[in-house]
Structures are given as C-alpha cells and as structure tokens.
C-alpha cells in the first residue's frame, strides 16, 4: 500500500462539469415534463408555433438528458474519480489541465449549438445521433480530448493497478468512439449541389434503408450501454464504497461482470429490429444475447448490494446511500425488463408502444439520474469544502422522486401493454376491433399520470439543484475533507 501523503487534487474542471450537469438536467427534464403533458393535453403542442411541437421538442429532451445531463455527470465524475483512484493531480500537468479545460468548453459550446440547431429543426433523424455533421466534427474533437486526458492521467498514475471504475470509463471512451464514428458516417450534400443554393448543414447517411437501420441500432443500443450503463457503473463502484466506507464485496465478481458485459452487450442491438427487414438470424442473435446479458448486468448490482452487507444502519440514516441502493435496484429492474422485452413474442407487443419509454425511464430516472445525483452530492462537500446544506431536503427529494419514477413506469407499463394488445385485437367478425384513435384516447389517463410522475421528479431535481447551490455558497465550511460519510446539516 502506498503512503497516504495528501495530494492536492484540482477540482476546477469538476466544478464546471457539475454546473452543466445541473443546468442541462433542468433543461432536459423540464422539456421531458412538457413532452409528457403534451401527449396528455395536445393543445400544449401549439403554444410556441413550430418550435414548440412535441416533435421538435422530443430530440431536445433526449439529447439534453443523454448528452447534456448524463455526459456532464460522467465527465464531472471522471475528473474527480480519475484523479483520486489513479492518485495523480491535474495540478501536476499543465498540458492535461489545458486539455481538460478545452474539453469542457468545446463540449459546452456543442451542447448549446445542439439546442439551437434542434430547435430550428436541423436534424438527421437518427435517434441519439440527430446532430448534423458540423456538430459531429466538434464532438469528435472533444471526445479525443477526453481520451487524451484519460490516457494522460493514467500514464501519470501512482497507483500501479487500475481500479474497476477506470475500466468502465475506458470502455465508454473506446466503445462510444467506435460506435459514434460508424453511425455518423454521413455525406454533406452541399458538395454535390451542382449549382443549387443548398443548405450547408444538410447531410445524408452513408448507408441506406435496412443497412442504415442496422448500423443505427448497433449504435443506439450500445449508446445505451456505454452512456447510460458503463460510466454509471464506474460511478457506483467508486461512490458507494467510498461513501459507506465498505470494501467492495468481490474482486472476482467485478472482473467477470465487467468482461462479460463488454463481450455480450454489443451483440444485443438486434432487439431493436425484431420483426423488421433485417435477416432473421440477426434478430435471433439480438434476442437471445439480450437474455444472456441479464447476468453480467446483475453482477455489478449484486456486487454493490453485497458491499453493503451488514450496513442496514447506514441505509436507514443516509439519504446518499439510499439513492445509490435505489439506483442499483432500478438498474436490476431495467436490465431484466429489457431482456424480457427482447423476447420476440413479447416484443411483438412491446415494440412501438409506451412500454419502451417506460423501460427507458426506470433505467434513466432510477439508475442514471439517481446515481449521477448521488455522485454530485458526494463530491460537493469535497470540491466546495463545505457541509451539504440540507439532509432533510435530500430525504424529501428522495421520496418524491421515487414516487415519481414509480408513477412513470407503472403508468407506461399499463399504457404500453394495453395499447399493444389493442392493436392486435380482433372482433368476433374477424376484423380489427379498434381503430387507431381508440388506442390513443384510451391512454389519456396514463399520459396524465406519467406527466405527474415526471413533474415530481423534476421538482425533486430542482430541490437537488438548490441543495447543491446552497452547499456551494452557504454550507458550513469544513476544515478537513471527510473520509467517508458526507457531512450534512439536518
């Protein structure tokens, strides 16, 4: 073991990314709540002309929460966790410090431009890859910068062995780089305009039809894996043991779950294309590999739950621990729900229905959202050197948001299964029982409930933002960094 001579870590970039996590979180989730209510009360779609319709706003929500909120959280925690588990400080390298700062600013500009272009309807339409080619190029630049900082920091490490969290961050970096490049292969059309005054922003995909779909969902599924899953696992492997002061339950389980996940995830993308026009064998592969995927996914969750063995007291008293245990639970829920939705016969109903957004949000709200907020809560006292402003507010937020998630996913389960069954229903005369609109109006109560659930979650998020803001500005100043449990004022 190394001596624990205190290193001075540099948190300036962590702070910047913390700020954008909160900013884009508020924007993205606010738009999510608006979307939810627009489906319940469609008049809301026409309040801001062409810019306020459900369809224009939806990509702003998905990009805002995935690439604004979640990625910011990932970068914030990377620069925090990275320095600490590698035992190096950004202060030690001017170069890496500059890279990190540049990474932040280019990223920030990209997301702002994303909001502007999507509002204007500049999009390629491919889900989670909507941004047009000039923005794609910008993304490549800061993604590379992130890689430079990552491998640079690893190169400067004092800790010989790299920790589990770093494996997962590395996997995100590598996988997203590969997926992103292939899926965003697009040709700007202005170079072949042949004299026509064509738009400079427009591009078309390098692949056509079924092939395009194949590449898209190979990307789309694994974007879920390497944005909403692996970096979040990286977080829980650091923040749960650190906050609780417990040792990780099993190194062997960490290793098996990691390599298992890395191998299996990439095969499962076919489950987005079941009963489509891609070859049957590829669909079967996507379907069966999804079932295999349950275990490597659950491995990490189980490892974390077992890390807390005997720590019931902490779970009861610390809202921070509650957030993380609940996050593992929702992670388990969504990683068995996904595989079951990937079974062909179930997907025949689930696909295209609200059950899919239901699945999406028990993962994103329960797992991603909770874990990112827990990470920021844990980091706040250390980066601001102040006590967390209010424990009571955290407790209230936790329960409000948990209720919000339950409302969200239960209503969408019911809505999705109902709608899926209605689409298939025949009457006694052998004709379709329901016209399409019947299957829409029946959803009104569930859309309303989902909106309310989402509103709860958003209010909780605003409490979180307020809590962090007050921590940074008026929390009691700490003279020493807390080793484990984060100090919080009641």
């Amino acid at each position: 073991m190394q001596s624990n001579a205190q290193l001075e870590y540099d948190y300036s970039v962590v702070k910047l990314f913390t700020f954008t996590t909160i900013l884009f979180g508020i924007i993205g989730m606010l738009v999510g709540v608006i979307l939810a209510f627009q489906l319940a009360f469609p008049e809301l779609s026409n309040l801001a002309g062409e810019y306020g319709t459900f369809s224009r706003l939806r990509p702003i929500h998905t990009n805002g929460v995935a690439f604004g909120f979640t990625l910011s959280g990932i970068f914030a925690t990377w620069y925090y966790v990275g320095q600490r588990v590698l035992k190096m400080s950004l202060k030690e390298s001017k170069f890496l410090m500059t890279v990190a700062k540049l990474h932040f600013w280019l990223y920030f500009i990209t997301i702002l431009l994303a909001v502007v272009t999507l509002t204007l309807g500049i999009t390629t339409s491919k889900e989670y890859a909507e941004l047009e080619w000039p923005l794609d190029l910008l993304i490549v630049v800061w993604w590379v910068l992130w890689g430079v900082s990552m491998f640079g920091m690893i190169g400067m490490r004092r800790e010989r062995t790299i920790y589990v969290s770093v494996w997962y961050y590395m996997s995100s970096f590598l996988a997203v780089a590969m997926l992103f490049l292939f899926n965003n292969m697009e040709v700007p059309t202005m170079f072949w305009a042949n004299g026509a005054p064509s738009s400079a922003m427009h591009s078309i995909s390098m692949y056509a039809g079924t092939n395009d779909a194949l590449v898209q969902w190979w990307y789309g599924h694994n974007a879920v894996a390497f944005v909403f899953t692996t970096p979040i696992i990286a977080m829980i492997y650091y923040f749960l043991p650190k906050e609780s002061g417990q040792n990780v339950f099993s190194y062997k389980l960490s290793v098996l779950a990691f390599w298992g996940l890395m191998f299996v995830y990439l095969w499962a993308g076919g489950h987005h294309l079941l009963y489509s026009t891609v070859p049957d064998w590829m669909q079967t592969m996507g379907s069966t590999m999804s079932v295999v995927l349950i275990l490597p996914s659950w491995g990490s969750a189980i490892n974390m739950l077992l890390t807390m063995k005997g720590e019931w007291g902490q779970l009861q008293t610390s809202p921070l621990i509650k957030f993380m245990i609940m996050a593992s639970t929702f992670y388990m829920l969504s990683t068995i729900e996904g595989p079951i939705q990937a079974i062909k016969s179930v997907n025949a109903i689930a696909h295209f229905t609200d059950w899919i957004p239901g699945h999406v949000h028990d993962g994103t709200l329960g797992w991603v959202g909770f874990m990112v907020m827990a990470a920021l809560f844990h980091m706040a006292p250390r980066i601001f050197k102040r006590e967390l402003y209010s424990k009571k507010l955290m407790e209230t937020q936790f329960w409000l948001q948990t209720v919000g998630i339950v409302l969200y996913f239960t209503s969408m389960w019911i809505a999705g299964i109902t709608q899926g069954m209605m689409w298939r229903a025949y009457d006694e005369y052998g004709s379709l029982l329901y016209s399409f609109i019947d299957t829409v109006t029946v959803l009104h109560p569930y859309y309303t409930l989902r909106g309310i659930g989402g509103l709860f979650y958003l209010i909780g998020f605003l409490m979180f933002a307020y809590n962090i803001f007050r921590t940074a500005t008026s929390g009691r100043v700490l003279d020493k960094e807390p080793a484990n449990a984060s100090p919080m004022a009641s």
Binding site: S45, N46, S198, G209, Y426, L432
Partner: protein
C-alpha cells in the same frame, strides 16, 4: 491474467477494444455484403418528394410515426402488405422510427389523399376527434427547401450510384431542370388542395412545405 492486464493500461485498452469490436464485425459485415437490393418497381424519390421527406425529418414526424409494417396479420390488415427490405433501398436515412404514438405511415399513400392530409396537418383533431397529433400550420407558410433536396438527390446519384436519370427511373437532370420539374409536380398536388394561399404560392413558383410533404406522403405506397 486479468490482474496482469489491469496493471498495463495499454494492453488492457487493446483487449477491451478487441472484445467490443468483435461483435460488430460479425453482425454488420455479412449483411453489407449483400446490401439491400431495391425491389422491382422501387424508384428513387423525386426532388419534390425528397423535399417533403426533409420536412418530415425537420419536424421529426418519426418521433411518433413508424414506417415499418411488421409481418403480423393485425398490421397488414391495418396498414397493408408488410414491409420489404428492398423498398428502402433509396432511403437515406431510414425512417422506421421506434415509437408508434401515431399510426404507421409506410403505405399511407394507399389510403389517404391530398385533401385529407391538407385538413389533417392543419388541425388533426378536427379530422380525427381525440387526436393528440400537433397542428402544423407553419407548413402552409414555410417554403420547402427544393435546392437542398436537389443536392440530396444529386449526392445520392454521384456518390452512391442511385439510378437517377437511368431508363425508367426518376429523372433528375440539372438544377434548372429539376427545379422546373419539382414545380410541375407541386402544381399537381396543389390542384387538389383547397387552401388559397398555398395555391397562389405554387402559382407564383414557390413550394410551401405542406405541398412537398403531401407529395412525399402520397408516394408512400
């Protein structure tokens, strides 16, 4: 072995990348080899249709509408023949969608008409009571981007060898020719429409977004 790797980040990264990249190679390469061949009768989109397709993308209709009829009786009864791979041969990007908040549109051209779309896009709930689809009045005033649609078609032709201007295929020609043809097509659509300002615009050589969009929707068969 794992522990060894964990102490050598470079090899770790190489192993990791190989593990991740493996599936992609197996999954994607075979199907690209026999890249989706167009079905008989499938033709590249006209410039006006492409302009409409761009409107469809701009307003993210794919957020609520799929264009993929799965092989189930309940879908073929509702929407028509299940979709075939070759029908998408000229679709860049593909527009299958992943959510059916509204109905599938892959063959909507078979059972809805210009007037119907005109009424519906302006105020869906007045045509289909209870509809939650947004109103799109701005499409009646915004002008469609025919120039970019032409660049789009010409890129497909030049870069990807899409058979524009081939025998029996869609004609493209020069920008001037294509512009004239698009206007000609737009006039046919506008003739079936009621909205006077749209008709006037087309008569004046402008193509409102709604006209291009309807041309595209009508082409989905």
């Amino acid at each position: 072995m794992f522990h060894w790797l964990e102490q050598r980040p470079f090899f770790f990264a190489v192993m990791l990348f190989a593990t991740i990249a493996f599936a992609g190679i197996i999954e994607i390469i075979p199907d690209f080899a026999k890249a989706s061949q167009p079905t008989v009768g499938t033709k590249p989109h006209t410039v006006l249709e492409l302009a409409g397709r761009q409107v469809y993308i701009k307003d993210s209709c794919n957020a609520c509408h799929s264009q993929l009829i799965r092989p189930f009786k309940s879908e073929t009864d509702r929407y028509g023949m299940y979709s075939l791979s070759g029908e998408y041969a000229y679709d860049r990007p593909f527009l299958w969608g992943s959510k059916r908040t509204g109905p599938d549109l892959h063959r909507v051209g078979n059972y809805r008409t210009t007037e119907w779309h005109e009424n519906h896009m302006l105020a869906p709930a007045e045509v289909v009571p209870g509809s939650i689809m947004p109103k799109y009045p701005h499409m009646f005033t915004n002008t469609a981007d025919i120039a970019t649609a032409y660049a789009n078609a010409n890129t497909q032709k030049s870069v990807f060898g899409v058979p524009y201007d081939k025998d029996g295929m869609t004609k493209l020609g020069s920008w001037e020719e294509a512009k004239a043809q698009a206007l000609e097509d737009a006039k046919k659509v506008a003739a079936d429409m009621k909205n006077q300002s749209v008709k006037d615009a087309v008569a004046n050589g402008q193509v409102p977004e709604i006209v291009a969009l309807i041309a595209y929707l009508n082409s989905l068969k």
